[in-house]
């Protein structure tokens, strides 16, 4: 088992940075997800850890030892790709056994380890089959079995379930996490799917344009995003973000949305904090997730009327688009709460779930009400 440290890692291609000043410590037995849109540098980072990609500056240490000098094969790391890369002419058994045979392990050891891995992955009954006779999920289980059988220090996975259909992905998420708990290998997992990251990671490292944006537990990155990119990349439906101005008034803070589209009441504390942080009060963006938009049928203090524009029923709950002048706020309501488009409902933002960002830098002002 191993810890992995990336220190000031950079990779560039001409003038273009692929990875910029990346610092990340992955602890022994930890499950870390590198998350970001395509082209953000996450796969390059993973490949650099595996030794499949050279870095231009910085260090990558596994168990405290720099690994650039080592060949990929000597780093004792296993890699699982999105495409299964199995040998088509070998059975599942032989595919899993392959790395052990290459290490000249005894017949008994090979058999024991293959059966152990197969049992953990619940593919014991498929060992005699060739890849062409297996489903997508089972192919990926075999590929993972082949990676695990060597008992590597670390397991690196590049979108391993990205090619599977939605239902199977859901199933495999639970299985992979379970497998991690049982075998305890330090795992670095790359995906562009925030649901995968949220549901599997001990910690998520979010990247964009080669730059690490935030590292934290799923709860931290969801509840306290450091900047607008993280705020809108994590969570579905997307966090509402609206430009706003904060003004003192009526013993509280008036938050004026967009181009005077709506005025919302916030505690006095908000205005003071904005001033205290020396931030221009008209360069604010407020962010609130759909569950932080509170919707009521009747008028009460602090609520303002808005018209329901579109209702998306998603089963256990609805997503309702509410019109605030030219702005749109999406709210999450119980199923059927707003009967039809055009209905007027009363709306308030939950101040404890409202985030404040600078429109200039995109950074969070770290104001928590």
């Amino acid at each position: 088992m191993a810890d992995i440290v990336l220190r000031d890692v950079e990779k560039y291609f001409g003038d273009n940075y692929i990875i910029r000043k990346l610092n990340l410590e992955i602890r022994n037995r930890e499950f870390v997800v590198l998350l970001g849109p395509s082209g953000c540098g996450k796969t390059t980072t993973l490949r650099a850890i595996a030794g499949l990609e050279e870095i231009d500056t910085g260090d990558i240490l596994i168990d405290g030892k720099p690994v650039q000098a080592l060949q990929a094969a000597d780093r004792d790391i296993a890699f699982v790709f999105q495409l299964y890369a199995l040998y088509p002419h070998l059975t599942a058994y032989e595919n899993i056994a392959f790395p052990l045979r290459a290490m000249n392990e005894s017949k008994e050891t090979v058999d024991q380890r293959v059966r152990e891995a197969a049992a953990a992955l619940r593919i014991g009954h498929l060992l005699d089959k060739r890849p062409s006779a297996l489903s997508g999920g089972d192919l990926q289980r075999v590929a993972i079995g082949r990676a695990l059988v060597r008992r590597p220090k670390a397991l690196l996975m590049d979108e391993p379930i990205g090619a599977l259909d939605a239902k199977l992905r859901e199933e495999m998420r639970t299985e992979l996490k379970r497998l991690h708990i049982e075998n305890g290998a330090t795992t670095v997992y790359v995906t562009h799917d925030q649901v995968e990251a949220m549901s599997m990671a001990d910690r998520i490292a979010i990247m964009n344009d080669g730059v690490l944006q935030q590292v934290g537990t799923p709860t931290e990155v969801y509840q306290h995003p450091q900047n607008l990119f993280v705020a809108q990349f994590i969570g579905s439906p997307i966090m509402n973000v609206v430009n706003a101005v904060a003004r003192p008034g009526d013993g509280g803070t008036k938050v004026i949305l967009g181009d005077n589209d709506a005025t919302l009441d916030f505690p006095q504390k908000l205005y003071h904090l904005v001033v205290e942080k020396k931030h221009a009060e008209d360069e604010l963006a407020i962010g609130v997730r759909p569950e932080g938009v509170l919707v009521a049928h009747s008028r009460s203090a602090g609520y303002i009327p808005m018209e329901a524009h579109i209702i998306e029923p998603l089963g256990p709950f609805d997503i309702v688009d509410l019109k605030a002048g030219t702005q749109m706020l999406r709210a999450r309501t119980p199923s059927g709460f707003v009967a039809k488009a055009g209905d007027v409902v009363w709306v308030k933002l939950d101040e404890t779930q409202t985030h404040f960002f600078s429109t200039r830098s995109g950074e969070s002002l770290q104001i928590r009400l």
Binding site: R289, P313, L314
Partner: protein
């Protein structure tokens, strides 16, 4: 705008039956979503309506007129594909004008200008009109593709997975935009997708298609709350509906003997009368209550953080069940937890046919 009626349609490709006995009734001005997995026959259905293929049997009527003998152009329907199919060397304006300059329906230049202006305003692509289409982002290209359909003012819009090439965030945005567009135009939309979230969130009606047959047609709520069979039940909804075999004995539905049993005492409207000896019992993750005083004991097999809530996998012997719980509920992997089913929300299916045993029927207690 027009209604579309398909009756008893069959379509074969060689020995392969793509569609059989397909009936479809799409009202004028309706947003109808055809939902199904790959290979279900969704795209084949669209192509038959568009006039790109001919069925082996059955009838197709648009606005009450049989159109089987009509060419694709005469049918006056517009198709939008997953791939944008724009002319790369032309500007957005030229792409939008193109369908209005065809020999079949050539419009005057002022008419063309007016329609292009209106469509680009609706889709908020006015600022892109003079740009070449190879300089556009994926979302912009798909808006232009839709614009090419809108300018024609067709009787019916047919859309084949138009959002599936876009990333998750953009898909979410365009879902709301497309629904908004359809409402503004008051147009008839037939929208094909394999994504149940798209179907639920956009459709006035959803038709679930599997292996060339329509399984169920209904509002999103009907499809979600009263699925006709186990296919619909597990295809719609995320997390997937929990589904376990149960044998009926001594007035109980037994999933795990002695540990996970549902009494058939009329609770939830089910007494067991008239039920077969073995059933498939379905329960959605949000209909499992987790708490210290609930009736069944389980091990926590997995916990998935989903931000606003957590999805917990509970294990009773070899039986795994997913439950949705609030994010603030502290629950650790390998801990013990207790749960109960919301009895009135259980779904009872025939173990052989997979059909919902209460479909279209009232339960004993309503």
């Amino acid at each position: 705008m027009a209604d579309v009626k398909l009756a008893n349609i069959s379509k074969k490709f060689g020995a392969h039956t793509a569609l059989s006995g397909l009936d479809l009734d799409i009202a004028s001005g309706e947003f109808f979503v055809l939902l199904g997995p790959t290979g279900a026959g969704k795209t084949t259905t669209l192509r038959l309506i568009a006039g790109l293929d001919r069925p082996n049997g059955g009838s197709i009527a648009i606005d009450g007129q049989d159109v089987l003998g009509w060419s694709a152009a005469e049918r006056d329907v517009a198709l939008v594909f997953q791939y944008y199919s724009l002319y790369p060397h032309y500007t957005v304006r030229q792409n939008l004008e193109f369908p209005l300059k065809s020999k079949v329906r050539r419009l005057s230049q002022p008419d063309i200008d007016q329609r292009v202006a209106k469509a680009s305003k609706t889709l908020r692509i006015e600022h892109l009109l003079e740009r070449k289409t190879d300089r556009l982002s994926g979302g912009e290209m798909q808006r232009v593709s839709i614009g090419r359909a809108i300018v024609r003012e067709p009787r019916v819009f047919l859309m084949d997975e138009p959002l599936s090439n876009l990333d998750a965030k953009l898909r979410e945005l365009l879902r709301a935009e497309l629904k908004d567009l359809q409402m503004k135009l008051g147009a008839t939309f037939l929208y094909v997708t394999h994504d149940q979230v798209e179907a639920m969130s956009m459709g006035d009606k959803v038709g679930v298609l599997n292996q060339g047959r329509i399984i169920q047609v209904g509002t999103p709520q009907q499809i979600y709350n009263r699925p006709r069979d186990t296919f619909v039940a597990t295809f719609v909804g995320s997390p997937t509906m929990n589904l376990h075999q149960a044998s009926l004995a001594n007035g109980r539905a037994v999933i795990v003997p002695g540990k996970l049993e549902v009494p058939l005492d009329g609770g939830g409207g089910v007494t067991g009368g008239g039920l077969p000896g073995t059933v498939m019992l379905g329960v959605r993750s949000e209909d499992i209550i987790v708490g210290p005083n609930e009736t069944v004991e389980a091990r926590v097999h997995g916990v998935e953080n989903q931000g606003v809530e957590k999805v917990v996998t509970l294990r009773v012997d070899d039986c795994l069940l997913k439950a949705t719980v609030p994010a603030r509920l502290a629950i650790g992997i390998d801990a013990t937890a207790r749960f109960s089913f919301k009895r009135e929300k259980l779904h009872w299916f025939d173990a052989g046919s997979g059909l919902n045993l209460f479909y279209g029927k009232e339960r004993e207690n309503g």
